[in-house]
């Protein structure tokens, strides 16, 4: 044990330039199901969250479901597997593919069963099926597994130029209801009604998650984003749940902001935000603004957390259809997502290993794929990360 600790500290010391990024990666830890800090007054479900260690472990190795998805998903998953192999990560992937063809219900069932069995998954994004009746497969996974919170952390990447500096925002988005219920009907030809559902249960749950996240990670402020001046009942209910929850966490500052003002503030002064919580659609908008502010869709990882399961993917959920198979996609987001997954499983040292290698590739080696304005290929980035991972893993 002592020698492992010693090796870890050697690891930390050997990356002086990345000390800052190591701090970043540490505090980027998601709501890990292995964290055992209970606070007084926590509801029963949060106790559940902390104790359920839903992950398959056998012989010291974990099994994680891998769903490559469409577009750039498959190639990025291949790179994740390579890097895990070089790093010696004790994780085996159970690969389940769902095609976006209609009538593939059995495959979806298999995938969901596999995720339930393993508890944790790494996922690419699916194209949306052309038929209006089919619920998107991405949404199916989220709703069926009740992954109620979508969490992404938008933090300025060291060494990567951007218009705004010092950004460190955690966006917590309700992931199962709101405008994404796909309940629509055309009563009269040419007149379509689309239903947005807000429930007290989901709003309270996501609000509690947000405040507990803030408390657990030492964050100071939670901002609730809404449009309750127009949608008085729907967003009004959401806002009320957030406000009531804020009373249970008096040491965390609480404020609310209307979505249009929030968008304006995000592009003029994003440094003012800390943790943000919001319903589904606004979350979509703010996530994309946040990801764009720190460098784009290729960089930010995201996680979908439920009471029992966790699925990791890129934050902005792009399929990258136009660049699929061309070796130009930025693997950063998927690699960082896999690192978040390792932290979730408790494999912190492997998580840090991969994260630090990725940050180093961006900051020091200055690998820039086309989305960052450069000419490097996906493989360039992966090979740089692999070299660093090999070098550091040898010291472990």
């Amino acid at each position: 044990m002592a020698s492992v600790l010693q090796k870890c500290s050697v690891l930390c010391r050997s990356l002086p330039a990345s000390a800052a990024v190591k701090a970043f990666s540490r505090s980027a830890a998601p709501c890990s199901l292995h964290t055992r800090d209970f606070h007084s007054g926590a509801a029963a479900y949060s106790q559940q969250l902390a104790t359920v260690g839903a992950s398959s472990k056998y012989g010291g190795r974990y099994t994680v479901t891998m769903i490559p998805g469409d577009g750039i998903g498959p190639e990025l998953m291949g790179h994740v597997k390579d890097i895990f192999r070089y790093a010696g990560v004790p994780v085996d992937f159970e690969e389940v593919q769902i095609t976006s063809q209609e009538g593939d219900e059995e495959a979806i069932e298999n995938a969901i069963t596999a995720i339930k069995r393993n508890g944790v998954a790494l996922k690419g994004n699916f194209f949306h099926p052309p038929m209006p009746e089919l619920l998107s497969r991405n949404m199916t996974v989220r709703v069926r597994l009740d992954l109620f919170a979508n969490v992404l952390r938008c933090k300025t990447f060291p060494g990567l130029p951007s218009r705004h500096g010092d950004i460190d925002i955690v966006i917590i988005r309700e992931n199962t209801e709101g405008e994404y219920t796909s309940l629509e009907h055309e009563n009269v030809p040419g007149v379509v009604e689309s239903l947005k559902i807000i429930t007290a249960k989901s709003s309270e749950r996501i609000a509690r998650y947000a405040f507990e996240y803030a408390q657990r990670h030492g964050r100071k402020k939670v901002t609730a984003v809404h449009k309750a001046n127009i949608m008085k009942m729907g967003d009004g209910l959401f806002l009320e749940c957030c406000r009531k929850m804020s009373e249970e966490f008096p040491d965390i500052e609480y404020e609310s902001m209307i979505i249009d003002n929030c968008s304006m503030q995000m592009v003029s002064r994003p440094q003012q935000f800390d943790v943000m919580v919001m319903p589904n659609l606004y979350g979509n908008i703010i996530s994309n603004i946040g990801a764009g502010l720190v460098g784009g869709p290729g960089l930010v990882p995201g996680e979908n957390i439920g009471e029992e399961y966790a699925v990791f993917e890129t934050a902005t959920r792009n399929t990258g259809k136009s660049i699929a198979g061309q070796n130009v996609a930025n693997p950063t987001a998927m690699l960082l997502a896999s690192a978040l997954m390792l932290e979730h499983l408790g494999l912190d040292k492997y998580a840090s290993l991969i994260e630090n290698a990725v940050y180093k590739a961006l900051a020091e080696n200055k690998i820039r794929t086309p989305d960052l304005g450069g000419q490097h290929s996906t493989v360039d980035m992966v090979q740089t990360v692999v070299k660093e991972v090999e070098a550091q893993a040898a010291k472990m």
């Binding site: 949306h128 379509v192 239903l195 947005k196 449009k227 304006m264 003029s268 902005t316």
Partner: protein, 363 residues
């Protein structure tokens, strides 16, 4: 009303385009002016002063739109104001305050309903001299203004479950799409992008998108693109120069237009116009009434001034519009007469005087 060009012979010297009247005579055009509340009166006065200095052929007819209780108990806009607006067709409006009181509707909502203002237009152009992290913005957001998520239809189905209804209709979507393409054509812009979330809201945004596609067929000279809302947001904050004219339903429009306003410096410098049925158009500043600085000669008239410039363009008075806009931008660029919100110490009257001086010097 974006129904194409038609000549009205009985009108003699007037040729009515989708964008208001083109004046061939020297007659001044009467416009309804609604000063508004708070800083409204002083910034309206500033605009009038600058217009006089520019010799713009505009006659102002001041009106008060504070809602009164009409017959039947519902709040309505006063009769004289409605008549003035319907006669003049064109209006310029300062910020309005909604009085606090049960049942009193939002003033903006009331105006929108009364004159059927179906399209909200916000040109966002970076202002030289007012530095933001986004220096090259030049886009226009066109937002459907009557339906969508703002229908106000909500129910609590059971305790703790609320359903809000988003309404999308074919006529409204078609109308705003036609306006967007006409606008692009008239203003010499080359691309219209429809912003939607038809991957999630298949039928409602799908209908909106279908209408946009159909209208695009009639405007082959304008390039038509479609983009998901999240992709637009993602790309907007990385590179806003890739966008030209954006058309979208109500909620996305609300958010995106404010996002774009944030790119160029905020609501204090953003112009806005609302297009209604029967050729009515009301141009307005979208900031608040700022009661804390009202009456102290500290307000920034830029937003209202740029909206008035938009109004001049709508009327076909491009030369006057250019001169006034250039004078305003040059004054801001010089930086000696900036009001507090732009980082300076000058008074509203100083700024106005400076712009008036410049506009007379520009050819």
């Amino acid at each position: 009303m974006a129904a194409g060009v038609y000549r009205s012979l009985s009108q003699g010297l007037r040729r009515i385009t989708p964008f208001g009247s083109r004046l061939y005579s020297d007659e001044a055009r009467t416009v309804t002016l609604i000063p508004g509340d708070g800083i409204g009166p002083e910034i309206s006065a500033a605009v009038q002063e600058i217009f006089a200095a520019a010799s713009a052929p505009i006659k102002w007819e001041t009106s008060d739109v504070t809602a009164i209780k009409g017959p039947g108990g519902k709040y309505i806009i006063p009769q004289e104001a409605q008549e003035s607006m319907n006669k003049n067709k064109i209006g310029l409006k300062g910020p309005l305050k909604t009085p606090v009181g049960k049942g009193h509707p939002s003033m903006n909502l009331l105006l929108r309903k009364t004159f059927q203002l179906y399209a909200n237009v916000r040109p966002c152009k970076s202002i030289e001299g007012f530095k933001t992290p986004y220096p090259d913005v030049d886009l226009v957001t066109i937002r459907e203004n009557t339906e969508g998520e703002y229908s106000g239809i909500e129910h609590m189905i059971v305790d703790g479950v609320v359903q809000s209804i988003k309404l999308i209709t074919e006529p409204a979507s078609r109308r705003v799409a036609e306006f967007a393409f006409d606008f692009a054509r008239a203003q010499g812009r080359d691309t219209v992008t429809a912003v939607h979330k038809a991957n999630i809201m298949r039928m409602s945004d799908g209908l909106f998108l279908k209408c946009c596609r159909e209208v695009a067929e009639d405007y082959k000279d304008i390039r038509f693109e479609e983009m998901y809302l999240d992709t637009v947001c993602l790309n907007m904050v990385q590179d806003p120069t890739q966008f030209d004219v954006l058309v979208m339903p109500n909620l996305y429009g609300d958010i995106l237009s404010d996002l774009c306003a944030g790119l160029i410096g905020g609501l204090g410098v953003t112009p806005s116009g609302n297009i209604g049925a029967d050729g009515v158009a009301i141009f307005e500043s979208v900031h608040g009434t700022a009661p804390d600085i009202a009456g102290k000669d500290l307000a920034n008239p830029t937003a209202l001034l740029l909206s008035a410039v938009m109004m001049l363009r709508h009327l076909g008075l491009h030369d006057h519009a250019r001169r006034i806009e250039t004078a305003a931008f040059e004054t801001i660029k010089e930086g000696t007469a900036l009001t507090g919100d732009l980082g300076g110490k000058a008074k509203c009257s100083d700024f106005t005087r400076e712009v008036s001086k410049k506009v007379q010097e520009i050819e």
